[in-house]
């Protein structure tokens, strides 16, 4: 089977040719890369333990079933083996591996147009008008305080910290993330769930810092809105 590790993952980004990416590759990562090149099983297992859950999670955003996600992840590892000779340590190992995964997952993608590059998708989502809070929640020009809340923002009870991390709310939040537009879903998942830095996300997804920030903003705003709706509806549920 021929595996294409090329595309975005294999090519150098000329803008970053000298900067080495976010921190570049650490000495420890380089040792693992060297091990992998020599077919060292321990090095491979270390990488699997480190990245498997992340890869599965990202793959699952683009395909519908766990089974297909497992296939995509397996293809990704094969892509990593095939490409490891050419890995130059400019990007961090993590973002390089995720770029390979993104290419694989999106080419299998069942949830979006597979022809559109991620950067174009990101620009499209970032370019839309998409207010964090609907305009009607603010006073219009005819009222005393135009642009201020029409009614005070409802609070999430007396113990919002507890409510928001209850299993039930987390389950709901997971569903709300699934409903986000694709690029927002990806950025929010990497930034807020996987706790990547902005630089890492830009590098892995090949998007600009400005678009990264807009997508993060839109995604987070929608999740807050979803949680608010969930809190408001809590009395209506059995």
């Amino acid at each position: 089977m021929s595996v294409n590790t090329g595309g975005e993952a294999g090519t150098r980004d000329p803008r970053r040719a000298d900067s080495g990416g976010p921190g570049g590759t650490t000495a420890e990562e380089l040792a693992l890369v060297e091990g992998l090149r020599h077919g060292d099983e321990d090095a491979f297992l270390t990488l699997v333990r480190r990245y498997q859950a992340l890869l599965k999670r990202v793959a699952r955003m683009y395909v519908r079933t766990d089974a297909v996600a497992d296939e995509v992840v397996q293809e990704t590892w094969l892509g990593v083996f095939e490409g490891i000779e050419r890995f130059e340590g400019r990007a961090s190992l993590k973002t390089w591996v995720v770029r390979i995964l993104m290419n694989r997952a999106r080419s299998r993608g069942e949830r979006e147009s597979r022809m559109v590059p991620f950067s174009a998708l990101a620009a499209e989502e970032a370019g839309r008008s998409d207010p964090a809070v609907p305009a009607e929640r603010f006073q219009d020009a005819a009222r005393n305080y135009p642009g201020h809340w029409s009614v005070p923002l409802p609070r999430w009870g007396d113990e919002p910290e507890k409510w928001v991390i209850s299993l039930e709310t987390l389950e709901y939040l997971r569903g709300a993330i699934e409903q986000l537009p694709s690029a927002q879903r990806t950025v929010v998942t990497l930034r807020d769930e996987q706790e990547w830095t902005a630089e890492e996300v830009c590098e892995a997804l090949g998007i600009t810092e400005a678009n990264q920030r807009v997508l993060l903003h839109r995604g987070r705003s929608k999740l807050r809105k979803a949680l608010e709706a969930r809190y408001e509806a809590r009395g209506a549920r059995p």
Binding site: Q52, F81, P131, P160, V164, I165, I177, E193, H217, S221
Partner: protein, 83 residues
């Protein structure tokens, strides 16, 4: 000069830049001025922070042991194929 620093509908669009530390100095001052005056916007910022905290809780690290074996097979096959 807006005595509120910014209006609430502007505030909610600045929250991410504020948290990212990418607001310009003037905007940051206006944002924080608003924050001291507006309880709803303080609650809004807090809800965004809670949203981030909850999202962080969704992260799982487990790699099921049975998932290793097929990957090791792929690895060994690749090793054989290139030698």
């Amino acid at each position: 000069m807006n005595p509120w620093g910014v209006d609430c509908n502007e505030f909610v669009e600045m929250v991410t830049e504020y948290l990212e530390g990418t607001l310009g100095e003037d905007d940051r001052v206006r944002f924080e001025q608003h924050l001291t005056m507006c309880g709803s916007c303080r609650d809004y910022l807090e809800q965004i922070r809670l949203t981030l905290r909850a999202t962080g809780k969704l992260r799982t690290e487990d790699v099921p042991a049975e998932g290793m074996e097929p990957l090791l097979k792929v690895f060994r096959k690749w090793k054989q194929g290139r030698s």
